[in-house]
Each structure stands twice: as C-alpha cells, then as structure tokens.
C-alpha cells in the first residue's frame, strides 16, 4: 500500500474516500500509530467544532425569520429575485448607449466644457466595456443634446425588453466629468433612465437596488463605468 499523505487522511476522516480505499487506509492506520494520531487529531478538530458550536442550533428562532417564509417577499426582494432580467435590460441599454455614443460622438464637437481628448477616452472606455456593475447618480449641468427621437430598437426587443423605445440621449457635464443619460419609454409609457459616467476605479461598489418613493435605482459598476438605471418601482 502506498504511504499516506495528510490530504488523504483528511479525506478519510471527512468520509470522502470510497469503501475500498477507506478499508485499506483503516488497516494501514492500525499498523502505524503516528499516522493514527494524526487522524485522531483531525477527528478531534471536527468533533470539537460540533461541541463548541452545537448549542447554537438550539436557540429559539426569532418570529421574523419564520414569518419571512409565510409572507409575500418584499417588493425590493422581488426585484432582486429577478435580477437576471434587470441585468439583461441594463446590459442591453448599456450596449445601445455605447453604440449610440460611439456613433454620435464621431465628429461631435462639444465646444463647451468637454475636451475632445476626454470625450474620446470616454467613448473608448464605453466601447470596451463588456460587463456591467454599479451606479452613481450625479449629473451636473445640462448640456450636449445628442438625440431626441422615438424609434424601436431591435436589440432590446430581442433580449426581452420588448417595447422599450429610446426617447432621447443627452451628454451632461458635471462635477465628475462627462456623463450620458438615455431616456427610454416602455409600452405603458413609463420612463426608464440610464445614467452612465466614468468612475473612480478605487471605489468598489457592489450591485445595489434601492427603492425610494416608488422609484427603483439599480446601481452597478465595472471597470471604468458607473451606471444607474432609474425606473418606477412598478416596472
């Protein structure tokens, strides 16, 4: 029989070995007290964890936890439960935004607060973005008007966001630099806005859904972009 290693002894103690190997190792351990002692130490650690923390299982469960299984999930929880759809919509919107900005910014001159190099860098980062996360909703002054029209977007329809129509796209310059705002309308005429701007890479922000006064703010960030999707809570 091959000599044991600690990893295999751990698998033995944890019940991860098949019956044949387990029997082999048990027989071998019976003839090698020092290896047996190692196995006993491992067993002691497992048993010790049970002894130390076992009583935590017998504490009374707060009513609010049992109630959580009996009631309808909160609106915010429902929204989070459907996060994948939100991501699809958000991803679709961001792709549309990226394409629009890339196209519209080609040759576009702000002539006011944005320097061309800054715009070029922003557009490049937008086009390179492949995944999404976060939001920081802060737009400053209202400036560059890029587009204002109503048209169907096949990409959004294909991704399940059927009926979303782009109403307008704006470039805004604020304290944090250039940001983009896209305003969409769904079939019921409800408005959905997507804010995109560059962000500080050192500020980590997990995806977050905030519901406030009937409005949902879905925030995410990834790479150089910070995004906020704003919609009525009923969407």
């Amino acid at each position: 029989m091959r000599p044991y290693d600690v990893s295999e002894l751990e698998a033995y103690v944890d019940g991860e070995l098949d019956a044949v190997r387990r029997a082999e190792l048990a027989a071998w351990l019976a003839r090698h007290p020092e290896a047996q002692a190692v196995a006993e130490t491992l067993r002691y650690q497992n048993a010790g964890l049970h002894a130390i923390f076992g009583k935590l299982l017998h504490q009374p469960v707060p009513p609010r936890l049992r109630a959580a299984l009996h009631r309808e999930p909160s609106e915010s929880a429902k929204r989070l439960g459907h996060l994948p759809l939100i991501w699809v919509v958000a991803g679709g919107l961001l792709l549309v935004a990226s394409a629009l900005i890339g196209w519209l910014a080609h040759g576009y001159s702000f002539g006011r607060s944005m320097h061309e190099d800054q715009l070029a860098a922003f557009v490049e980062s937008m086009q390179e973005a492949t995944t999404f996360c976060d939001v920081a909703e802060e737009s400053g002054g209202d400036n560059g008007f890029l587009i204002s029209q109503e048209e169907e977007h096949p990409f959004l329809q294909a991704e399940g966001a059927s009926g979303l129509r782009l109403l307008e796209a704006r470039m805004l310059s604020g304290k944090k630099g250039l940001s983009t705002v896209l305003l969409f309308s769904d079939e019921q005429g409800r408005h959905i806005s997507l804010f995109i701007q560059s962000r500080d890479l050192e500020e980590e922000q997990a995806p977050q859904l905030i519901e406030e006064d009937g409005i949902n703010y879905f925030l995410w960030s990834d790479g150089p972009l910070s995004c906020t999707l704003v919609s009525p809570a009923s969407v």
């Binding site: 009583k55 959580a68 299984l69 999930p73």
Partner: protein, 164 residues
C-alpha cells in the same frame, strides 16, 4: 405552507449558526438569514430534487455575505458566537481544550475558517462546500488543509502561518 417551505424552515437553525459564525453579530446574522430566506423563496424553482437543500441555502447565504454583509463583521466579538456548551463536556480539561480550539479557529484567515466550518462542523462533502463558496474542490481542500495545519500548530503552541 408547502413542503419546500417546511424543509427550508427546518434549515433556519443551521443558517443562523453559520451566519452568526460569519458575522459574529446576532442582529446582523438574523438580517442575513432573513435576506437568504426571501431570496431562496424567489429562486425555489431553481432548486430541483437533485440539489441538496442545505448547501443550496448556504450558497445563497454566503453569496449575500460576501456581496453585502461582510463589512458588518464584528472582528472582536469572538466569544459571543461560540460560547462553550454548559453541558455535554464533562471534564474541565476538555472544556479548556475546546476553548483553545475555538480561540485558534478565530485566528484563522476567513477563507480557511469557513471551509473548516462547512466540512468539519456542517459535515458537508468537499463538493458541496466548494459549491457554497463557489470555488473549485481543489481550492477548498487546500484551504481545509492549511486551516487544519494552522489549528494543529496553534494548539501545539507553535507559530502558524500569519493571518492574511
């Protein structure tokens, strides 16, 4: 209440224990468990008969812990979570030894500690524990080995690898 909800309800004590050992704060732990339960109900359709309920619930809980609750960890609230049992361990020396084990456990890096708790305390298979932590089985085993070695060295009074 459906059978699935009843099965989930039976897991609440285990979820609370794991949440408490992650956060070391009872209120925060119960918030995390409530969050986990609400999400589990919403995703129940993704949990088929081939999926063991406890690892599935633990995975939701751990994911929520990592994404939103880790910042609420109470680093110094060690003994609150792991008070020794008042009965069941008769010998005083055993109680002292367990106290030492508990202290050594809290000295471990989080990744090693959570691996040890899933396998050693919860009795999960390597595959289940790896799925909870969303890491390959090899990574789980490596964390487990390093954690156990550190525990042993600490209990023997030797210096273990520095806490990360």
């Amino acid at each position: 209440m459906s059978n699935a909800q009843q099965a989930i309800e039976a897991e609440i004590p285990y979820l609370r224990r794991y949440a408490l050992l992650l956060l070391r704060d009872r209120d925060a732990a119960d918030d995390l468990v409530q969050d986990t339960l609400e999400r589990a109900l919403l995703r129940l359709h993704t949990c088929n008969e081939q999926v063991r309920l406890r690892p599935w619930l633990f995975a939701i809980l751990y994911n929520r812990f990592v994404s939103d609750y880790r910042k609420r960890v109470r680093e110094n609230a060690v003994t609150e979570a792991g008070d020794l049992p008042e009965t069941g361990v008769a010998a005083q020396e055993d109680r002292v030894a367990l106290r030492e084990l508990e202290r050594a456990l809290w000295q471990l890096p989080e990744d090693q500690r959570v691996a040890l708790l899933l396998v050693g305390m919860e009795g999960m298979s390597y595959e289940e524990a790896a799925s909870v932590l969303d890491v390959p089985v090899g990574t789980l085993r490596s964390r487990l080995s390093r954690g156990r070695r550190s525990l042993r060295l600490r209990l023997e009074g030797q210096s273990a690898e520095p806490r990360v």
